[in-house]
Amino acid sequence: MFSNLFFAFQYDKPGVKRSLFWEWLHGSLLAAPSGILLVVIWELFKPEPDFIKIWLTIGTMGLLFLAQLSVANKAMISSNFTTFEIARKMRLALGNKLQRLSLGYYKKRDPGDLAAVALQDVANFENIFGHSIPNIANAVFGTLILSVFLIFLNWKLGLTLVAALFIAIPFVQFGHWMVNKYGSKNIAARNATGANFLEYVQGLRHIKSYGMTGERFSSLDKSLNDLRKASIQTEAVSAPFVLLPGVIFEVTFVLMIWIALYLLMGASLTIPVLIAFLIIGYRLYEPVKILTVEYLVLSYMNVSLGRIREVIEADEQNEGKGLTPDTFNIEFEEVSFSYTGETPTLQEVSFSSPMSTMTALVGPSGSGKTTITSLLARFWDVDQGSIRIGGIDLRDMSPKVVYSLISEVFQEVYLFNGSIYQNIQIGNPNATEAELQQAAEKAQVLEFANQLPDGLQTLVGEGGSKLSGGQKQRISIARALIKDAPIVLLDEATASLDPENEIYIQQAIQELVQNKTVMVIAHKLATIQGADQILVLDEGRITESGTHEELLAKCGLYAHLWDTQQKAGGWKMEGNLRPV
């Protein structure tokens, strides 16, 4: 908890110090009425109270009240400003960090989840911390001042009351330990319900079309019921520990009076002092009671801070020696790689692709084709071996340089909420209007853009929602065309994703690969017959390589795949009736 808090504090140390000062002042002023009350009471107990002194004291309290008005304002503004400043700087730090994380990190993490860190988690800090600083400060400062004061007044009674605070702490902690223990059971039950419900909803079309609503429903019902039981259990077990400190305080207070009675009889205590204890003693516990409630909220904030830290402290790829290649042949030398650190995804993969040639990657799903292209784009760094472009190891180049050498055409396309034109321009902000038009033309973007009311200026909607998959794909190819990187990585299946636009995407790809060093992941073997080199992968190893003709002659895996695909040769569904 504290390490996460200090992590947050570092973003605005002066602000935190300033806030603490004002909150301390405010806390002291809040404690002031109690002190003044005492002065009044003592005066009242004198055989002949000096009422002028009493009224003057009350007048002082009025003045302090006015002082408090302005201090409370200052303290509140200071705490809030500090909180917002920390939140702002954390968001900026996250933004900076997000630019430096490896692309592999983005593959691993759901973007929605990552955005939630900058949004929700920072917001949690913002809402909870700004609200909690005054409460915590009051609790800590107020309790401290009152404790010292009471001990000073009568150390026996004072210590008795203060002791209750220390007795309560283990119970509070034990209580939270219980909450966590049962809470995690509860969370498990909640997650199970969530998963079951998600399955129910996602499969609902299937469930309904097979009329199995009842059966699936009973398993969902069971998990809902489990959740209900777990929730009640958590509450039943943990609530006593949350309430226990209150009982301790009540009992200690009574105990204190009991002790006082004996002290009174022993004449080591005067009645005015005891009365002071009776009136102020109760106030000692008020802030602490608030804090025990606050603790739950704070631990919620702590989880959020932990998530923020995890991103900000994530490993970055090194910038290397800053080398830049001037030729673009690709070499893999004994490359091994694993995502998990256990099962290897690639094992001792070696090959080389001369500049301006085409290399095709073929193999069953999970054989490592995509991993090869991802490693070449330095999404991750290899575990063993080395990958070189133009003779320079990727790790000696900054990731930025590597990205500048490579254009990718993959299945997922991201478009900004802007115009088609702007989305193409991203490829090269310095490109001229004419170059951009030409790229749009070559990538078959004009083919559909010309039919839209605003042409290239048409807005694509959030994430390109107003366009079909094939249209988005062509925009991404236009982007790659004006980027004009020497190496092109592509997934041949992208064209098949949108069968109605297949021909256009194919033509666009054809333009993109001209005179480039190309690496293509192939599914339909017919498409890559003309490749200079075909690598056949199986379980992370290269099992065969050569040109189409060479591989057919080997009668291995490739020849088998080719055969099956030829046989299927575009399947058909035949009608049952003839004339309609």
């Binding site: 909803v201 009982v247 079909s468 109605e500």
Partner: protein
Amino acid sequence: MRKPAKNGIARLLQIAGRKKYHLLLSAILATFHAALALVPYILVYYVIKELLNPSLDEPVIKKYLMWAALAGAGSYALLYASGMASHVAAFNILYELRKQTAAKLGLLPMGFISGYTSGALKKIVSDDIERIENFIAHQVPDFVKGLTLPVVTIGYLFYIDWRLAAISFVPLLVLAIWIPLLFSASYTKEMMKKYHQAQEDMNSGIVEFVRAMPVMKIFGQTADRFHVYSDAVNQFAEMCSLWTKKSSPPFAVFMSFMGNAILPILILGIYLYQQEGVTLPTLFLFLILGVGYIKPVFALSNMGMQITLINRGVQRMDEILSYLEQTAAYAHTDFQGCSIEFQEVDFAYVDGMPVLEHVSFILPEGSLTAFVGPSGAGKSTAAQLVARFWDIQQGVIRIGGVDIREIPVATLMEKVSFVFQDSFMFRETLFENIRMGMEKSEEEIIEAAKAAQCHEFIMRLPEGYQTRFGARGVHLSGGEQQRIQLARAILKNAPILILDEATAFSDAENEHLIQEAFGKLIQGKTVIVIAHRLSTITDADQIILFDKGKVGGKGTHIQLLEKSEVYAQMWAAHTRAKEYVIQN
């Protein structure tokens, strides 16, 4: 769609009313808790009285103290009991609401559900409904406590001394006037709007920044996007600061009043002591109790905001619960075969944006029909309407001559099989995954699996048909999952089959196996294929071309090639695409 009868607090109380007796118990216990919590204070008052007596009666004081300790502990025990009662009520209600919502989803037209993402539905059932817990388990008892504690205290104080009791109201009165002013001032509303706007801007900025980052990295343009991001972040922070500056003075007043609430009592108390002979113990009693009841009252004012939050969730839940279920008007079950007829069908998802207009066609029983056309032309919608995913606005859809709105939904579902584009698997055994709750024997299931080319790969799994999908180390490829879907459809053997041909090509290695399975499945059925690749359906009995929501042509492949220019163009593009070879 029907609007829920009630909303706001009335609706929440209606929900809470399901466990009336639990809540009543909780409220009674909370009242006793509040009363008992007061007892130690009153006893301390008596102790002080005794102390100020010249003759100190020690046993009496000790008796008071014993009672005070017991009452203090007892009040907490009651608080626990009250909390448990309300929590049991709350969790039971949550359970019922979740169950009801899930059951309702099963009864609604499928089209309704496709209006939500599964994540959104999960959020409603998990998070939105969870919020109701806060109202029932916390707000209701807190409200009772917040109300009884002050009432009992004030009653007692009035009984002791009405003048001091009356003045103890002053801070409360000031706050009662102050708080509404605080929240209703026009600038507050204005600020609130701006604040939410800034927050929304920042939110969308952040989401876009994160989503765009991989692309920006590849194109080396992270810096540009960062400006947009940091501007949004800075703007929001600025808005927050402005908000603080405006709102903190009134809050400071509020806090200071709370901190000094004792002042009026002190002033009047001393005056009365001096002039009217109010006793010291009485003065002390007011100094202890006179300010204690303000905080719980303040807690009540917080409720309004909480309830707005909870309400939003309830509204989303009610959207589901109040949606009308599909019913059949006449409940026809006597079919004259399984031909399908669309007669002048109009349909729109949203009013004023027609998806289908004047669509008419007849699909004879046992024929195979392909729906083709550009994306967005309406071919998928038309196919889904056959299974009554939505109800149409105009025209009639008939199966075997009967309007589908007159067929019980369950019967309709028995008649129609779907092979969807996505293949969904349950975390169950493969056996159950094929059976889908149908009353079929083990032999029938294995037979269907064989026909769908599943048997072989299932037998290779560690526990064969008893292997649980989703278990550790069990992996099925996309193509294999699709074949399981086929096995389901073969097992169901419904006379009408609607299939999405897009399923066929995700797994090139198994393409011919899937083709065989399809061939077996469609025999003798009335089949609709939503076709994406024209070469797969050139032999269909009938092809219906959809173009901008209308039927743009009907006929066989050969007929359409001659009749329809659109179709001829689509065919030419498709043929060229098939012969594609990449050359660099």
